[in-house]
Amino acid sequence: MTSTTIDILWLTVGAFSILVSLTFVGEVLRARQDPDTDNPVLETYMTRVQSWWGMVAFIGIAMLVGKVGVTVLFAFASFAALREFLTLTTKAQADHWSLALAFFVILPLQYIFVALEWGGAYAVFIPVYAFLLLPIVSALRGDANRFLIRVAETQWGLMITVFCVSHVPALINLNIDGYGDRAILLVTFLVMVVQLGDLLEYFFGRRIGRTKIAPGLSPKTWEGVVCGVISAMLIGACLNWITPFGVWGAMGMAGIASVAGMFGNLVFAAIKRDRGVKDWSHLIPGQGGFVDQLDSVVFAAPIFYHLTRYFVGTA
């Protein structure tokens, strides 16, 4: 067993122990309440904790399988997210082929490029080639009605749910001096600081939040976001032993990822509000859809990838 595998096991054990304590708190609260009354907040909390169990198990297994496992896991997450996204966008019969290409050609190819470590290919494939090709396919059908809206929304969906999400497994491809095969741990670092930062942002926002950032869009408050980002930085510092950044570097990277994630969450709140939906779908019990779950990681992943490459990467 390599030291990386042992670290992954430790991290999984750590995540499971957080979940055990969250489940324990929920069960105690459930046991203490009057059995005849119904507490929707507690029930939502418990469904969410159950979904987290599933997620931690999936990510843990994927990490132990290695790069292929992580790539396949995020490819499926991308597929589910793209499906949720394109369900809500503007489209016409004329877009049938371009949408089919998006799902069955562009998405798999992007992840194949990631798996093959073709950095140049996965950096430009969607922003350049898909960007130019899909409107051509749609235009060939000769339907001009709302054409720009249709192609723009499709492209936006691909950028968010495929291009950005694929940068999570792409972290494994980064070459970092003296870090060797440990780059897979960057995935854990990113997902953990962003998700835990979100969770604590929600908690502090509920407790001490006063000033709303964007009233009418989201209940997020400045107080909650500041506390969430500071918590993410502290968690990042605690996890610095799995990164090549050092303590201060890990704090900084965690802070940037967390800030990007929280404002990404705000962007998705604006899209949902515009389309008149509360959640992107119903697929993850208690949490809505895959996009609801991934939104902050989506915004953080490409930024985290490029900054890591810039500061510590060698190629």
């Binding site: 597929f79 589910a80 499906r83 949720e84 394109l86 369900t87 809500l88 503007t90 489209k91 019969q93 049938h96 949408l99 089919a100 799902f103 069955f104 389309r275 008149g276 939906v277 779908s281 119903h282 697929l283």
Partner: protein, 213 residues
């Protein structure tokens, strides 16, 4: 042999359901009724050949066992594969749309209702290819409601399928499909056919998601 065939039909049914769920993540939205075993006629909008399998897939198992889609015999008896899937997997009530046959569709439908089955019907008659939400309803729904007034007629809106599987396309798009069940309607005392059909169509069109384009 019959046992083997019906066993195989159940396996195929499961495969169709799993396929529908994995491609479209199809989901039921029980707005007007509860998913409980009760005799009902689900009447739905019809934009795609996949409408009926979608509704069938979202029904809970105990409801699915007692539901029978009403479908055109000329479509489902065209080849041996369809003749297996239609009557045996979906347990369709096959009706002959040709006017010259003596076997009247309404007799078969009422016979199925009298056996205690629930039904899935598409009162528009044909697939809706235009831009209108619904085509004018055929009289069948009214006649059923008049003949068996106790049975709930449940409006059932299938959203998104026309983009998932447009006519003539082979590759389905994996978009999320929702089946919404509304509040049941019944034929009121003395209500004429046209008034009832307009009311039933309005109840169905109300379930259409507002953001749908």
């Amino acid at each position: 042999m019959t046992i083997l065939r019906s066993f195989f039909a159940r396996i195929v049914g499961h495969c169709i359901r799993i396929f529908a769920r994995s491609i479209t993540a199809v989901r039921a939205d029980w707005q007007g009724i509860e998913p409980v075993a009760r005799q009902r006629v689900y009447y739905a909008n019809h934009t795609s050949n996949a409408d009926m399998p979608m509704i069938w897939s979202v029904l809970p198992p105990n409801l699915r066992r007692t539901v029978r889609p009403v479908a055109a015999a000329d479509y489902w008896l065209k080849n041996p594969l369809r003749a297996f899937i239609g009557p045996e997997v979906f347990n369709c009530v096959l009706v002959d749309r040709r006017p010259e046959v003596s076997d009247k569709p309404m007799d078969k439908i009422l016979a199925a209702l009298d056996e205690g089955s629930s039904l899935i019907i598409f009162p528009e008659g044909n697939r809706n290819m235009g831009n209108d939400a619904l085509l004018p309803f055929k009289a069948g729904l009214y006649n059923m409601g008049l003949a068996r007034p106790d049975i709930d007629l449940v409006p059932t809106w299938v959203a998104n399928l026309n983009t998932i599987m447009p006519k003539g396309k082979v590759i389905p798009l994996p978009l999320i499909c929702t089946v919404t069940f509304g509040t049941p309607v019944h034929v009121n005392d003395g209500e004429t056919k046209d008034v009832f059909l307009a009311r039933a169509a309005a109840a169905l069109a109300d379930l259409r998601p507002k953001d749908q384009t």
